[in-house]
């Protein structure tokens, strides 16, 4: 634990699946105690990046070709996944992936498996998770498969916290969640970070991610194309247009006017609006 050593340093990482390189010479840094986000569309290489860090590429037939990954000064290259967890880096997988047939309680136990011994520390970790997500305490005896999507995401995050990571990797935590639930998860991430855990957040919901992060990287077709403080990126035209779905003001006004000019019966509203809204929606993702 080198005090000021970055929580994660990725240097010139190239990784891929067979002959396909999904990442090309990607470098990024997560400073200790920071929230850093990686933005990008489908297939940009975001998940590959996280898999390369957590050393689980082989489950998808992939491998790291070159480059290094260092967590808090310790190199992770070539380690098996369990040693990465032991080194303090834990990933919340995309799509939550809770153990559906196990109870909530056992899911959390599974998250703590990487830590050996020390019952007191495990009990403290469990208390922390229950404070963060009280619903998990209420439902501890239920099979995880019966939880709602949002609760499953809470469980997935809580499960990873059981390993008491110094760096939490989050893969699309807001995926498929209602906006209200996504906001609650965002609050939880903020809280976790405030308690001292660095976070690397991979998101398609750029607006949410840029609010959470202090620093952001934009990944496109396997390469970092933009990076900088989150606030700067959020203000840049490029990011606003491509990831925040903001079109220039004049066009938006036109669309509003067009809609106002054609009053329709409310029953047909949804359908009638489509032509006016289509150009706006195209850019939201």
């Amino acid at each position: 634990m080198g005090g000021t050593a970055p929580a994660l340093t990725v240097t010139d990482l190239t990784a891929g699946y067979g002959p396909v390189h999904a990442l090309r010479r990607v470098s990024l840094t997560v400073p200790a105690g920071a929230v850093v986000t990686v933005l990008g569309g489908n297939g940009a290489g975001k998940s590959t990046l996280l898999r390369a860090v957590s050393r689980t590429l082989r489950f998808h037939g992939g491998a790291v070709v070159s480059g290094t990954v260092t967590a808090a000064g310790r190199p992770l290259d070539g380690l098996p996944p369990d040693r990465v967890v032991a080194a303090g880096v834990c990933q919340v997988p995309e799509g939550r992936q809770v153990f559906a047939r196990m109870t909530v309680e056992d899911n959390l136990r599974a998250g703590g498996l990487a830590r050996r011994g020390d019952r007191a520390a495990k009990a403290a970790a469990l208390r922390r998770v229950h404070e963060l997500f009280p619903v998990l305490a209420e439902r501890s005896r239920q099979p995880a498969g019966l939880l709602s999507g949002g609760e499953q995401q809470m469980l997935a995050v809580g499960r990873a916290l059981m390993a008491a990571p110094e760096l939490l990797l989050l893969d699309e935590p807001s995926l498929g969640l209602a906006p209200l639930m996504a906001a609650r998860i965002a609050d939880a991430v903020r809280e976790i970070n405030a308690q001292g855990t660095a976070v690397l957040l991979v998101e398609q919901n750029a607006a949410l991610a840029l609010r959470l992060a202090s620093h952001a990287y934009v990944l496109e077709v396997g390469e970092v194309t933009l990076s900088g403080p989150a606030a700067e990126l959020a203000a840049s035209d490029e990011v606003r247009r491509r990831y925040l779905g903001v079109v220039d003001a004049a066009a938006a006004e036109d669309a509003e006017r067009a809609r106002a000019a054609h009053p329709v019966l409310s029953r047909w509203d949804a359908e009638a609006r489509v032509p006016a809204r289509a150009p706006r929606r195209k850019e939201t993702r």
């Binding site: 689980t56 489950f59 098996p80 996944p81 369990d82 047939r101 990487a114 498969g145 390993a163």
Partner: protein, 296 residues
């Protein structure tokens, strides 16, 4: 009525032994998603160790050595063969286990030859008489031992870290790895446990009234396959229920063979498979097998 009670108790005893075998089978399947066709050979190996060692060592040390030996053989199969192919398709691995089975079975058959080996158990052909019901001591010992082992196993599966790791790996290997579960260890442990359980089962498959360990013992072990399958391949409860059902059905069918003569001879050996087919027709996932429980 007393004959029926005897058949039933014998069936339960036999069934609990099948359950031991099926449990090992299910444990390997859950931990690695591989159908282990070499299971009958593991059993034969365990029985062979006991048979060879009981004279120099005495019965109980020989049994302990046999259990340990079968666990080591199981672990060795995992370590030397299965581990090299991890990541390969599960059906490919299942076929690999057939190859392992052929190797093990050939070597053991060569060693056993046409002999029938005694295991030197302390029960012999003694019987216990409870009123009108007469039961062999070996059957009672089998019932008790299997019951004890299965209870211990299920408790460990539910409550220990080993059990949590095993169940987590059974649901998703990748996610379990992300949580820091060591998949290699889980898989190694599953094979060792399966081997140990099979060795105990080998003992009770070869004691009175069976003459002893012979080449054909592994055929008896094969009846644990329908037990595991009708219970649902991925369910420990299913293995237990399946084992008992197969044991009782076999015992009753053999006992009342004369009344079932119109079905031809040897119905007792056939019955487990018939029950399996009937169960699968009604519940294709087996009695306790899981249908997908997932929210997308």
């Amino acid at each position: 009525m007393s004959t029926f009670a005897e058949f039933l108790i014998n069936g339960l005893s036999l069934g609990s032994v099948y359950a031991l075998i099926a449990l090992g089978f299910v444990v390997i399947f859950r931990a690695t998603e591989v159908v282990n066709f070499a299971h009958a050979s593991l059993l034969l190996a365990g029985g062979y160790f006991v048979a060879v060692l009981h004279e120099p060592l005495g019965f109980w040390p020989a049994l302990a050595a046999g259990v340990a030996g079968a666990a080591v053989v199981g672990a060795a199969v995992e370590f030397l063969v299965m581990r090299r192919h991890r990541g390969a398709d599960h059906s490919v691995l299942a076929i690999v286990t057939i190859g392992v089975d052929i190797l093990l079975a050939t070597e053991l058959t060569r060693r056993i030859g046409t002999d029938i080996l005694a295991l030197g158990d302390p029960w012999g052909d003694a019987v216990v008489t409870l009123g009108p019901v007469t039961i062999a001591e070996t059957r009672i010992a089998a019932l008790l031992a299997a019951g004890l082992l299965i209870t211990a196993f299920l408790l460990a599966f539910r409550h220990t870290s080993w059990g949590v790791a095993m169940r987590a790996a059974a649901e998703s290997q990748e996610t379990a790895a992300l949580m820091g579960v060591r998949l290699g260890r889980v898989s190694l442990g599953a094979w060792a446990v399966a081997g140990a359980l099979a060795a105990v089962a080998a003992l009770f498959l070869t004691v009175f009234p069976t003459p002893g360990l012979e080449r054909g013992t592994s055929l008896a072990a094969l009846k644990a396959f329908p037990a595991a399958i009708l219970g649902g391949l991925d369910s420990t409860t299913g293995a237990l229920a399946g084992g008992l059902i197969v044991g009782v059905v076999e015992s009753l069918a053999t006992g009342y063979q004369s009344d079932l003569a119109f079905l031809g001879r040897g119905i007792g050996d056939l019955a487990p498979y018939l029950v399996m087919v009937v169960v699968l027709l009604i519940r294709p996932a087996g009695l306790f097998g899981t249908k997908e429980l997932a929210r997308v």
